[in-house]
Every structure is written in structure tokens, then in C-alpha cells.
Subunit: 333 residues, 2 copies
């Protein structure tokens, strides 16, 4: 294992300290327990939004803390849910008096720990609502999940719910728009290589030199099938078809097309994937009106990519376009 | 070799087509010859800025085309300079009547081909100035270079020169500020793994499981020394010391600290590197007032990172803060 780390035990601590040093204009960090809040938290009269989960998926979630998106992110150990304590502390830290939304990827540990934290926060008089993200069409249940997994679609839920909170929507409305995004977004991924969790020191799975995993999870959980390497266009066709068929997306739809890198994939490859995905959608009469390409929901240094498609309407488009100021997504005044 | 590509011959074509499909609001693309220009090029009365070089370093340079930064980027084949033809065509396409600046990384092929293109453009009456970027302190001469190599500091030259052109500076002034940034910026990198050029199919060099290359070039050219793997902090100390000693940076300086990923490095590692680099600078009385962390000058899927330090003054800080709207850097109205 070769990594730019010191002690594997300190990966999250030190990365968060670096994040704090790099972005003092955007965030403040609590080191014990570990959580990241936007620099001006709590924002009085605004719904607070908290997300989190195991580390190793950066910039998810810390990179999305800032105005117009998350109020707090709670990073657990690598690929391991944070405990209820830091989730509760983050919830308290961003409570502006009108409630807090938890955005939770659908993994058993995350769901349980966020639920416990929400109960504890409620006992202290904070109105907490939770939205579970489960956008991955690859598998029904998996290693760490009952039901579908939450993957890159989480970024879109966080951006759009964040914009709704920023414009002053109340807790019901912010939760409703987050739920709506989750209902209209679908994702699927592919892995070319595994990744190495620092404290494990070895890959959690292996792939032969000519093998890829279709429908990979963001912790390297098995997907739908392991196949021989294929040209990019054939791979895109394989992972995009189940996405389109799922809702289904249909001719006349306007969508946001998001090609996400798993962390170790060169950008040229992500754009090659984007090109084919846009082509396939166009052939089906589906219009791509918004786009996102890059490493946003990663699995450490895994090579591979995922495709996410979100059905847009005027409301979601306006919320997507609204200003956002975070380390990983930034636009507008 | 496992990559999300189709035919290795079409990597650049298809990636550029994907880039065009993903960012129609920011850029237009010429496919024969291949170059990328900002959507509203040429901007009358504004100095045009053109950069380029071999592909495989994305988002450099196409990701920096847009208002406030580059007017055009000319991507050559992977790790190979573009020929004079597309550089000339891009220069013509962004000529707003008040001259064009070429920003060229110091590699023999790039320097020669940009020089030829500049001569051809001059013969057509376009006033062209060139600034050569050579920020890498690792080696004096190298495989593809006479003198120092141009690496991640190029991003800072492009951003700041772009802001100067956008505010209406004339060609002399834009060239002068680009030259000033180059004179005040220094970089050095480290590789943990090699990368595979698609048409080669094999890594251009190898590193043992416990080896790293200190002072790596962005095409995998040899650096200063090959050593045993060390903790991140020790590696940062090794590559930061020659940067600081070079100008030298001194107590009382204000700097921009830029930690750049080589393409395959997880973001947690980049922030661990940032943390230590900021610590070392603080110990020396050097104040980090601006920051940048991420994959901006890459070597395909290489694992590793580089550190870049730019000495700031009020003018450079204001130009860095000025609005920029590109695929890879975006802030301000």
C-alpha cells in the first residue's frame, strides 16, 4: 500500500485538519467529535441540512458544506458510518431554530446512526426530518444495505435541498424537494480497479487484468456482474440502460446528466463516458439541459465511473442553478 | 491496460467531443484541427490568451477556457505537443484585435510549435507575445526540456493573466503579469505510481511497491531521486524545502498554497499533504492567504501530488480573486 498518509489511524483527523486550513472562508471544524459546519453556522431562521457517512468518498460530504448546500458534514472513519454523537453535535451546531434535515445515504449503519441522532436531537427540541437517498439501480439489497444503495445522486439531493433551504423554504418544503429529487434520480457505476482502505492495507476485492465490475458499490461492494473489459461505449450502454428503464426516463424529458469519477479515473475518460451517455439519451429523445462531470462521490483511488440521471422540471432546474459556495461546487454570487 | 476508452487513437477526439457536449455554455470546439475556444470568442478589444500542450493533464488546459481565464486551449495527443496548425487556428479564432498571449509550458516540443505558430500569426498581422512557464524546481534539464519544466504553476499563470486580460489590460501588461507570476511561483511533485499512455498500453516507467519518485515530471520523467516510501509529512518536507529555498520564500511573505493531485490520488491524501505544507510554511513565518486543492494538472491516473507556492501581493491577490467561469475553476458573478 502506497498512500500519502501518516498513521492510517489519523487519515480522517489529518484530512479534516487540512480541509479546515484550506477553506477557512467556507467552513469551521470541530475536532472532537469530528464534524464540519459552514463558517456562519447556525444561520438563524434557515433550515439546517446535515449529511455524512464514512470517509473515502470525498468531496462527499465535507466538500459540499457552505452557503447554498450543506450546513454540516459528519465524516466517519473510512467506509464506516459516523456514530450518533457527532451527528447529534452537528445537528445542534446548525440548528437555526426552524428545524434540521438529515440527508442519509441508504446504508444500514448510516440509517441507524442518523436515526439515533435524530431521536436525541428531537428530545432536545430540535425538529429533525430525514431523507434517505437510494439512487443506485444496480442491486436491490447489498452487503451493507437493505434496499438500494445511496450513491452519486446524493450530490444532487444535497445541492437542490440546500438551495431550497437557502431561499427560505420551511422544513416540510426542504424535505419534500429532497424526497422529490431522490424519486427522480437514478445511478449506476462500474469499477476497473479496487481501492485500498488505509487501515486494511489490502484491496477489499480483486479484479483480474481484463475484468471489470458492473454495478459496483462505492465501498467496492459487488454489483450485478463481473465481465471482461469492453470499449467505453459498450460499458456506458450497459450501465445507462438500467438507469433509463428504471423510472423510466422517456422521450421529452429534460435531465441533468452527471458523470462521476470514482477517484482514480483520468478526466479524459470521464468525458468519453459523458459523450456516449449524452448520445444515447439524445437517441431516446431525452434532452440533457444541465451537466456535471468530475470526481464528486469517490471510492478512494478506485478507477471507474458512475452515471447519474436526474429528471428536471423548472423548479429543480432553478434550484440547481442557484448560487452555491462550497469547496467542491461553486457558482453564482 | 484497463481504461474507459474506445480506440486509443480516438481518446483526445472523443474526450473533446464530450467536453463540448458537457459545457456548451462555456466553450465551442473546433474538431479539425482540434482546439477549444470560449463560447463568445473572439472578444473584441480584449487580449486573447491561448495555452495548450499534450493531453493527459486535464483539466489543464481545456478546463480553464472561459471568461476570466483562457480564450483557447489546444490539446495535442496524449503527452505530445500540438502541431503549429491548431495553435495558429486557435490564435486566429481568439484574436480580438489587440493581440494574443501564448502561455507555454517549458517543453521543447511545445516551445517550438508555439513559436512557429506565433511567427505564422505575426505574418498575418496578429500581435503575439509568449510567456514560458518553468516553475518546477526538481530538475534543471530533463527528458523533454531545456531548463526547468512547466507544471502546476501554469494554472496560476493562466488564472491571473486571464483576469488581467478580462479587466482590459493591454498585451504588454498581460504578458508582464504572466511573467511576474512565473517568476514568483515554484512547484515540485512526487509520484507513487506511474501512468499508462493509452496508445502505449504500458507504464512508461515502473516503481517498486515500496518506492516513490521525488521530483517527478508530469509525463513521468525522472525527478531527483527514487526513495523508499515514507510518511506523508516526511514527503511534504522533502518536496517543500527546495520550493521554499529556491526564490527563496521568506518570513513575512504572503502566498497562495496549491496542492495538486496527479489524477489518481484520493482527496483525503491531498488534504493531508495540504495540512503539513501549511504547517511548514507557518513555522517559517510565511502566511497562506489563498489556497487551491485538487486535480488541476494531472498525469492521467498517476498517484501522487505536487505542491506549488506563489508569492502574492495586492495586485496578484485581486487578480486571483477576480471572477472566473470555466469548467474547472469557477467563482464570482
Amino acid at each position: 500500500m502506497k498512500k500519502l498518509i501518516n498513521d492510517p489511524k489519523n487519515v480522517v483527523n489529518e484530512a479534516v485538519a487540512g480541509f479546515e486550513a484550506a477553506h477557512p472562508d467556507l467552513v469551521r471544524v470541530s475536532h472532537d467529535p469530528i464534524y464540519i459546519v459552514r463558517a456562519d453556522a447556525p444561520v438563524k431562521g434557515k433550515v439546517g441540512i446535515v449529511s455524512g457517512g464514512g470517509s473515502g468518498h470525498e468531496p462527499l460530504h465535507g466538500g459540499f458544506v457552505g452557503s447554498g448546500m450543506l450546513d454540516a458534514a459528519v465524516p466517519g472513519p473510512v467506509f464506516t458510518s459516523p456514530t450518533p454523537d457527532p451527528i447529534l453535535a452537528a445537528t445542534q451546531a446548525v440548528d437555526g431554530g426552524v428545524g434540521v434535515l438529515h440527508i442519509v445515504k441508504n446504508y444500514t449503519g448510516d440509517v441507524l446512526n442518523f436515526e439515533t441522532a435524530a431521536d436525541l436531537a428531537a428530545a432536545e427540541g430540535i425538529d429533525v426530518r430525514s431523507v434517505i437517498v437510494d439512487d443506485d439501480v444496480a442491486v436491490k439489497d447489498s452487503l451493507y444495505t437493505a434496499g438500494r444503495r445511496g450513491v452519486a445522486g446524493t450530490v444532487l439531493v444535497e445541492k437542490i435541498a440546500g438551495a431550497a433551504a437557502e431561499r427560505g423554504d420551511d422544513l416540510d418544503a426542504v424535505a419534500a424537494v429532497a424526497t422529490k429529487v431522490n424519486s427522480q434520480v437514478r445511478s449506476m457505476g462500474v469499477a476497473l480497479t479496487p481501492c485500498v482502505v488505509p487501515h486494511a492495507g489490502e484491496p477489499s476485492f480483486t479484479l483480474a487484468d481484463d475484468e471489470i465490475e458492473i454495478g459496483i458499490g462505492i465501498h467496492g461492494e459487488p454489483g450485478r456482474e463481473r465481465i471482461r473489459m469492453e470499449p467505453a461505449d459498450a460499458i456506458v450502454d450497459r450501465i445507462l440502460a438500467p438507469i433509463i428503464d428504471d423510472i423510466p426516463f422517456a422521450s421529452g424529458d429534460s435531465v441533468l446528466l452527471f458523470v462521476n469519477g470514482m477517484g482514480g479515473t483520468p478526466q479524459v475518460e470521464l468525458y468519453i463516458v459523458f459523450r456516449r451517455a449524452a448520445e444515447v439519451l439524445a437517441e431516446k429523445g431525452i434532452t440533457v439541459t444541465r451537466t456535471l462531470v468530475g470526481n464528486f462521490t469517490t471510492s478512494l483511488e478506485m478507477q471507474g465511473a458512475s452515471i447519474t440521471v436526474l429528471k428536471l422540471d423548472d423548479e429543480l432546474t432553478a434550484l440547481w442553478d442557484a448560487p452555491v459556495h462550497t469547496a467542491a461546487l461553486r457558482w453564482g454570487k
